[in-house]
Amino acid sequence: MSGYFLGIDIGAAGSKAVILDSEKILALAVMPSGTNYSTTSAAVKAEVLKQAGLKESGITASAATGIGGRNAGTDSYHGVILCDARGVNLLFPAARTIIDIGGQGSQVITMDEAGRVINFNVSEICATGSARLLQVLARILQIDINDIGPLSLKATSPSNFSTSCTVFLETEVITRISQGDRPEDILAGIHRSIADKISGMLSSGAIQKDVVIIGGGALDTGLVKAIEDKLGIQARVPENPRITAALGAAVIASQR
């Protein structure tokens, strides 16, 4: 179907918008969600239209998803699981398993060749297993969140942690620092904790390949590697791992 299709995802941490032009991403925008979802929806929409050089009247159809997506004033609203599946399917037709590490928790989705959801498992709202833990770590270790991945890949003996709760981990990380553990080993140890938690969410039995990791957590190369090691697989990560749900919403808008 030809035309311009807008997908908006107002997530717990970030808001994303994508404009799709016959199965190609024409423009995208990402910004923090903040506390007022209506204002953020309008802002992210304005930004993506600007990027695409379009006016709102130029949009053929629109759809939204995410915790605040109902405030976006689009033609339709769809669940984030479905949108993730459709978005990933467009980028990687061979994908069968999605691991989404978002701002408030994580989810795993299995799907078929057409991007139809077969099964999914959503974590409790929990900072561990979400990208939020990475923010907390960046603050304690006084490093930029984008440096976590590259730094952690230099680890030689990852620290062990007795807890997986972010609140308790804060204390334990400080103890490890006082004992002389190096930041890269601490980070690699935390990545292992998150990978363990995510692995526990996948149903037992063989993991259906290809595996695609998305969400803000997928930007952390060290975390991606820890998940790959834990699951014994090679994962694929989209160029913009945060926008897949917005992309999926645009795909759905184009098919309605």
């Binding site: 709202i125 929990c126 807890t163």
Partner: protein
């Protein structure tokens, strides 16, 4: 020997993650003294300190203490104890000493929560949470920090309302954010605080419901000292809860009672040898771990 032991005393020491407690009972099991103090980083020095303090309060010397049981998270760090016993066993014993009919005991400590099912004074089942800060005292500390309030003050303020706000996040990290947004929305402080207590309680009650909550319910642990939490517990359970006069010491009390029972048993078996005990001022340094 039986005569001798009847004149002696028995101690229970509970080194918790946040607070350390010690209780001295006499041969009839009557509490002679108890003390509570923060655990801090040096468990062993703390164990000595609470033991010294509780003996001072009871007006006795170490030679008069026949048997000592240590319990709690730091129970291995009590070098002068005769025996270590798990906190679940001690706790069940302590609670049923105070409330012989107790069927459900809910204990919320600084970093954990426990639910015990007890019948005829015996522990029949239990569940614990030490994995997640939500549903522990830590959640309340984070809330107090966020709001810049004292923990006790928080409890009193929360009693001013009957309309708690709903805190949706179970996770402490996200709840902290939610507290700030509720404040910025202009919700009254008492409503937010009452909402915080309901949130913690709901988390623990979810654990308790897995074991079926049967009355009488006894609520203990440091968190039970908070009036706001007690009220929230009664609301969420829709039944009255019993709180001991000093809800922090049930584990140490149980340990002391068990120490007394153990000593009498050993006397009967002709096995009790009252060791000469010494409270060495253990010097702990951080290199010890590597030795």
């Amino acid at each position: 020997m039986l005569n001798e032991i009847s004149r002696l005393f028995f101690a229970g020491i509970d080194i918790g993650s946040t607070m350390s407690k010690a209780v001295i009972v006499d041969a009839s099991g009557v509490v002679r003294a108890y003390v509570v103090g923060p655990t801090g980083a040096e468990h062993r020095r703390r164990a000595n300190k609470v033991m010294e303090d509780v003996m001072l309060k009871a007006g006795i010397t170490l030679d008069e203490v026949a048997y000592i049981i240590s319990t709690g998270y730091g129970r291995v760090s009590v070098p002068f104890a005769d025996k270590q016993v798990t906190e679940l066993t001690c706790h069940a014993r302590g609670v049923s000493t105070l409330f012989p009919d107790v069927r459900t005991a809910i204990d919320i400590g600084g970093q954990d929560a426990k639910v015990l099912k007890i019948k005829n004074g015996r522990l029949t089942d239990f569940l614990t949470n030490e994995k997640c800060a939500a549903g522990t005292g830590r959640f309340l500390e984070v809330a107090a920090d966020t709001l810049g309030l004292d923990l006790n003050e928080m409890g009193r303020i929360s009693l001013q309302t009957e309309t708690p706000v709903k805190i949706n996040s179970l996770c402490t990290i996200f709840a902290q954010q939610e507290i700030i947004s509720r404040l910025s929305e202009g919700q009254p402080l008492p409503d937010i605080l009452a909402g915080v207590y309901i949130a913690v309680t709901t988390r623990v009650v979810k654990l308790a419901r897995q074991l079926k909550v049967e009355p009488p319910v006894v609520f203990t642990g440091g968190v039970a000292k908070n009036v706001g939490m007690v009220k929230a517990m009664e609301i969420v359970l829709s039944m009255p809860v019993l709180v001991p006069e000093e809800p922090l010491i049930t584990g140490a009390l149980g340990a002391a009672i068990l120490a007394r029972d153990q000593a009498f048993q050993l006397v009967q078996d002709g096995l009790l040898q009252i060791k000469k005990k010494e409270l060495t001022e253990a010097h702990i340094d951080f290199t010890e771990k590597n030795r």
